[in-house]
Amino acid sequence: MGKKELKVAFFLAWRSLVRGNRSSLFLNVLIISMVFTNMIFFPALMNGIGVDITKRVVDYQISNILIEPKKGNDYITDLGATLGLINGLPGIERATPHYTLGATLKFRGRVLGSTISAIQPREEKYVSPLSTKMIAGSYLGDTDEGEVILGTGVAGSPNVLEADEYSPSLGGVRVGNAITIEYVNGFKKEYRVKGIFSTGVFELDNQIFTTWGDMEGVTGAKDRASYITVKVKPGYSDQAVKTQLLQYGVMEKVQTSLDVLDKSLGQNLASFSIIGFISLIVSLVIAVVVLFIVIMIKTLNNRRQIGILKAIGVDRTVIMNSYGFQVIIISIAGILMGFVFTGLLVLYMTYYPMVTPQFSATPYVTFTDLAVNGLILFIASVIAGYLPAWKVARENIQDVMRG
């Protein structure tokens, strides 16, 4: 097919669109744009939930690299030397230890089982944004003794009945209140609530933190930790830093955030991906079927005209391409409109995310997602549009002219 034939095919397509039924054209474009938006939006939302959960876990719980005691040990021993080694390596922003101990909390008749985490408050600032999430009181200082900070989930609210609570709490603890903590080792101590934080992460908002020094007083043990979280400097890969840690003789169990997430959240994230993929396929099938029907109806309505065009010497490839061009134009317009709809939805949900106790979802869309889905929809649309045109254009002139 030559340039001239393509030019005529495009000419016929363009005239048919701009001088044909405008509302029908608009509806066709709208359908494609909605299909495109659906193709992008739902998987992007699933993706966004995955990204949000991952970010929260990395930010507040395990950082980029998690170092746990090697098999058979309950604690990382020789902590000072281990931290010194890790913090001296290139690519490490900061390594900070955590010590956890089970305890029972008591406040005005409420009793709550929990885990107390000891942190080095100043060091913790390098690996976790916890210090920026205080909603009442203040963050811990390194030398604080007998003080704790706790999440909103533990603090609870005096306005919610115990029976109505989503998870058990202390029923409305405020900054300055005293709570009693009985550790599993039998140590009992009264603490003043120094601050209350809210991270939006369910697990974290149900935690209590005290200082490293205080915990040493409780356990009597020094130079050991339950686990170490390591923040990696920008530009360094977690995997490369993990390899480096092992090469430099860190004998504990070293895992990147991806290793940990694969084990703990891998199934969930994979489920999100599957749901997103199913949604993509359904959207694509809808697009193909709709376009096939639209072009089929159009070609059936225009059967006689197709016959006339063939009769006056217009080759069938020109006729097929003219319908093909119509589908191409409708698809491109629909995809562009879908870009706009998707952009507006993402923008809206960036400011007003879908918030649940487990996640805060904002659609996560990359340019690659847009380009790949746009291309898939485009190819599917063109095939769906060409098929009926090809079928009618191949028919005998007399058959199609009879309509």
């Binding site: 030559g2 005239r15 005209q305 065009l309 010497g313 217009v314 002139i397 007399q398």
Partner: protein, 225 residues
């Protein structure tokens, strides 16, 4: 110019065979204005469609300018129609989304031997001849039946075809518009030595034809001057 040998077209309607053409032998010379007449169902349109390569005969041969057209491939037939034949249909068969100018120019746009300037000049020339140049930007819906058929005639002759086929072009027109179209055919026939083969069932159209081929039950009854 046109010669047929033993042309037959048989349609099957269930178990019944209908002989639309039953051994038609005709010859039409260059520059002739020939009418094909006969009662309904006599095979007039079928014969025209066979001659115009719009349908294939069950058996028999058709020669146009010495070419046995039935041996052409589908694509070759399309090109043959584009380069050598022109058509006027009963219901005008214009493309509603195209203007008068675009409808007329359409067959010329596809010809490899026409530049854009050439086909535009030819279109304006032909529209001037039929008196519709001032309507060239109008769409089909803005024209009367007579005007639409004149546009269809202009489209048929814009490529200066060897043969112009017309299938009852006046069937949807009143007498005045019919005369206008027939006068146009006669004028083209005389001035351009245009071969025209036209199907008609109106006896008064005979005055325009050089010759009438009369059919009945798929057979030629007579070919008269």
């Amino acid at each position: 110019m046109i010669r047929t040998q033993g042309l037959r077209k048989i349609y099957r309607m269930g178990n019944v065979e209908v002989k639309a053409l039953d051994g038609v032998d005709i010859q039409i010379g260059k520059g002739e204005f020939v009418g094909i007449m006969g009662p309904s169902g006599s095979g007039k349109s079928t014969l025209l469609h066979m001659l115009g390569l719009l349908d294939t005969p069950t058996s028999g041969k058709i020669f146009i300018d010495g070419t046995e057209v039935e041996k052409l491939t589908d694509y070759e037939k399309t090109m043959f129609r584009l380069y050598k034949l022109g058509y006027v249909f009963q219901d005008y068969a214009l493309v509603p989304e195209l203007t008068v100018m675009e409808n007329v120019a359409l067959p010329a746009m596809l010809r490899a031997d026409r530049t854009e300037q050439q086909y535009k000049a030819a279109t304006v020339d032909i529209l001037s001849r039929i008196g519709l140049c001032d309507r060239r930007t109008h769409l089909q819906g803005e024209l009367s039946g007579g005007q639409q058929q004149r546009v269809a005639v202009a489209r048929a002759i814009v490529n200066k075809p060897d043969i112009l086929f017309a299938d009852e072009p006046c069937a949807n027109l009143d007498t005045e518009n019919s005369r206008m179209v027939l006068n146009l055919f006669k004028e083209i026939n005389r001035e351009m030595q245009q071969t025209i083969v036209m199907v008609s069932h109106e006896e008064w159209h005979r005055e325009y034809f050089d010759r009438v081929i009369r059919l009945r039950d798929g057979k030629i009854v007579n070919g008269e001057k």
